[in-house]
Symmetry: D2
């Protein structure tokens, strides 16, 4: 397990935040958001973060760098429900030459709902590991 980050419960510890709203299609028969649906939320936040950094994901993909997900961890603390407006806070951390990790905090009206960590590696279109872009390496803490 490469997972190293321990996501803080304090929004002030995060450098970027993306807001989204829960779709009905993302709920399950327990009346809450299905646990698998959190991962696309994290991904959407990552994509917006890259755009915010001036490195839109579709440009990176066109340049032949993809960000494979190597590991994902989610801790579900309180359920998300239909129509909840979710703030996905994220922080880039723990970059090495081959991988980087992102910590996430999901809140609704400031209330903690979940934390998460994803570990990524840079790969080419064939799925082979490639060197991480310098700008990305520079960002890690």
């Amino acid at each position: 397990m490469r997972l190293e980050l321990d996501p803080s419960l304090n929004t002030a510890d995060y450098t970027y935040s993306h807001r989204l709203r829960v779709r009905f299609a993302e709920t399950d028969a327990m009346g809450i958001v299905h646990h698998s649906r959190y991962l696309p939320y994290l991904e959407e936040a990552r994509v917006e973060y890259l755009r915010h950094l001036g490195h839109p994901y579709h440009v990176l993909r066109a340049e032949g760098v993809d960000y494979a997900v190597l590991e994902a961890f989610v801790q579900y603390r309180l359920p998300l429900k239909f129509d909840d407006v979710v703030d996905v806070h994220l922080r880039l951390g723990a970059a090495t030459r081959a991988t980087f990790q992102i910590a996430y905090l999901l809140t609704v009206d400031g209330q903690v709902r979940a934390t998460a960590v994803t570990v990524h590696g840079c790969v080419n279109p064939d799925g082979r590991p490639v060197r991480m872009p310098a700008w990305l390496l520079a960002l890690g803490d």
Copy 2:
């Protein structure tokens, strides 16, 4: 609208049947299978039908023919629920040189739950229409 088939409610009118079981992840907060989740069921049945015909989809894709979905129609008659064992009956029909249509009947223990029709066109990997394979054209009724 190219949609022409009128799916029969009689399983005897279908030439192939594929069985699957509803996943919990496919339900929604109404306690039933979300209406968007029927389309992957139809697709799974199509894939198994092509394999049954001796033309597995991954071979067709490797040969440069993809089956774009041009239209899809579903009529939801009775809900599907978690753990239901669903029989997806299908029948190829109404092929032209450029498109073909498939009619579907979804049953659980013989009880009709839904009908559907999909319209497909053959395309190359760039998404451009290509001539339909002869074996497929020959199958249409």
Copy 3:
């Protein structure tokens, strides 16, 4: 088939519009948005439309009225791709005492990508048909 609406290709024929962005998780191995993923887009637009009308869906659900999807039809004209910003235009039409229909037009930068129609019935939490709220009946054209 109850489907009656014929969705116009002219955005001026629609009364409401909702904007969303395609997630990477919604694409498939053909490099385009999977055809099943359009239905949650339509649903998200309906939910926002109800909120815009002053009848948020979660309030309606709390009042014991749910909007079952009876039929859905999508015509895929040009693919949607990752990161596309999609405008989902919609128009309520063809309401009866028991059902109502909605027509949709999906555009990206003004270019038509898809049209769709959904047919809905009002049901109680047990799935039994109930009378349509007066305000909804009044809205239909």
Copy 4:
């Protein structure tokens, strides 16, 4: 983090195995199964395991016990592709009075593709923690 299990890469270390086939709808524009789609695979395997144990999930839910997912971890080692036949091996472990954990190994033709761990708590229909059924407590190692 409650996560304690360290999933073995040896199929002999697992007590149950469930086979499924990758759907086209589960792939993404990288041409592989989207990382969020592994979680429903794990869930499907859990459901079949409970059935195998004589405690079908829908019976447990009818009896008022639900298995909330508290944590989920996946390590993606090699991609899964469309039409892959995946064996999801699982082993129940590390049960306490309030939670239990399951370790997973995903293989295709015996080749390791992913490992995973999920942590669960028993809850009633309102989402409140309840005591774990005795039969389940007895199974943990």
